[in-house]
Amino acid sequence: MRSDRQQSAPLALKIAAAAGLLFLHLPLLLIFVYAFTTEEKSYQWPPPGFTTQWFAVAWNRPDVWQALTLSVQVAAISTAIALVLGTLCAAAVSQTKFFGRETISLLVILPIALPGIITGIALRSAFNLAEIPFSFWTIILGHATFCVVVVYNNAVARFRRMSGSLIEASMDLGADGFQTFRHVILPNIGTALLAGGMLAFALSFDEVIVTTFTAGQQQTLPIWMLEELVRPRQRPVTNVVAMVVVLVTLLPILAAYYLTRDGDQIAGGGK
């Protein structure tokens, strides 16, 4: 706690901050309005009328369902792989000191530090060189690679806050390594892993740049969306799908926030 009294912010700062937040949120709200518009051919504003008929139309479109199913499958498997790899890496980096530790953390961060198109084209040309046909699994190979970092970041933050003496105490009380992991480490990092897993899922579910390079004929939901953006077929259906995607990604983010809010970002809790 700071001892100084609470001051109120200057008006200009309040306005600038509020304007910035509005800039971030208004475009997303607009998506919700357009999902109900009766206009089919253009992006006319204000909408000439409102209807819910497009929800039924979108519901009966098999291509939307196929894309959605593929996206969920890819995201689930990539998240599972990322959870294992990310946790192992975070445990090794945060619990021990060894030569090349910095290099390892750099290696984990690299897939998202470099532009996605580089990851994408690198994987694509490697698949071509190795003559691996594009399939469901090539998409997963790409997705898991950049999902590792999200899990890793969450796990590392939690490991750092976890006192090493807990593990020592567990060992002193006679637990072996596996028991310590099961009864001490796992309950401590559980929520962080869940949060990391959800974010990884959201990341994979939404990924399009790498996917365009690693997918063959399959369409994930973002690829379906991209097709509609480049060559619109039925705009109202795109509007509805866009709204649903916003709602679906909202939930894991809110959940991840509630799981990690205690202590991961305490005011002034930095260095």
Partner: protein, 322 residues
């Protein structure tokens, strides 16, 4: 051996009974040889990232030293710098300069818009407001990238909300005047460089807010008060105290905005002119043209630019603010 036997607690004392068998043996082995455990923990992620990611990256780099035969269109697998030479053709150099300039402007604009949000969130927002600000940044950050672009397609369309708003305000002449400026303008906002710029800023802005906020959280409020007690005006305090302390955060955020803009090929394709960006050039060369060597050489540009950028950022201590 005997020392170990003495150190091992008697089974009766242990709260959890010590397990025998292979699990117990493994546990003991890891305890005696922490290096082995470390190796086993690191091997899967390092192998995955090393083979799948670094392997592909190196394969790509290797291909940038190949060249394409102009007559047959086949890839010639002799190492040469000819493909890199092609990057310096005026048309390709244009693409590189356009992309780097856009990345720089987008970064500066994001920093300017992000700073007030981050500052308010770090210094004034408390309790419920703090959570609201945090979610207010996280939700747009994690919202679907394509949906965000789509939203701007709706906004910037000729029949869209922005035109409607400016017509109501009788300010249409302002947009028309702006669109008639050669480089930044175009037929409508959705096919102009200005449109591309707005969407870039919108999509990457949350990546800028979070690190700046993290940096500002570490600035004690008493420092700002001390500065004003010593007679500094708010502007002086900002320039001499606040900004230098927030700079690592700004640089950390700029790593994202800069890198993401350099490699993006979807935003300029959907909202923008027909002039290419690096990402689009890479996509075009690897796709229909089948000129993988040139595409690979193009990807080296962002890698090199980001390499210098990260090196500079590390020297400014930006990684602590990530």
């Amino acid at each position: 051996m005997s020392a170990e036997a003495m150190l091992r607690p008697a089974p009766a004392v242990a709260i959890l009974p010590s397990r025998g068998g292979i699990v117990g043996a493994l546990s003991d082995l890891f305890w005696r040889k922490p290096g082995l455990l470390l190796f086993l923990m690191l091997a899967p992620p390092v192998l995955w990232l090393g083979i799948v990611y670094l392997g592909s990256l190196l394969a790509l780099l290797l291909q940038s030293f190949f060249s394409i035969d102009e007559f047959s269109g086949l890839i010639n697998r002799e190492l040469t710098l000819k493909t890199y030479g092609e990057l310096f053709l005026p048309a390709n150099l244009d693409i590189i300069i356009r992309t780097v300039t856009m990345a720089a402007i987008v970064t500066i604009a994001s920093a300017i818009i992000a700073f007030p949000i981050a500052y308010y969130a770090a210094r004034y927002a408390r309790g419920k407001w703090k959570a609201l600000f945090y979610l207010g940044i996280m939700l747009p950050l994690w919202s679907s990238y394509l949906v965000k672009i789509y939203a701007w397609k709706l906004i910037l369309a000729k029949e869209g909300i922005l035109t409607w708003l400016f017509e109501k305000l009788h300010l249409m002449w302002l947009i028309d005047a702006w669109l008639s400026i050669p480089v930044v303008g175009g037929n409508s906002l959705s096919v102009s460089a200005t449109g591309t710029f707005i969407v870039f800023v919108y999509v990457w802005l949350p990546f800028m807010v979070l690190p700046i906020q993290a940096a500002l959280e570490r600035v004690p409020g008493s420092l700002i008060e001390a500065s004003s007690d010593l007679g500094a005006s708010p502007a002086q305090t900002f320039r001499n105290v606040l900004f230098p302390l927030a700079l690592p955060g700004v640089v950390a955020g700029s790593i994202f905005t800069f890198s993401l803009t350099l490699g993006d090929y979807i935003i300029p394709q959907i909202i923008g002119t027909s002039r290419l960006f690096i990402g689009q050039a890479v996509y075009a060369h690897q796709g229909t043209a089948g000129n993988i060597p040139l595409a690979a050489a193009f990807t080296v540009v962002p890698i090199v630019v980001m390499g210098f950028y990260l090196w500079g950022a590390k020297r400014m201590g930006a990684f602590d603010a990530l």
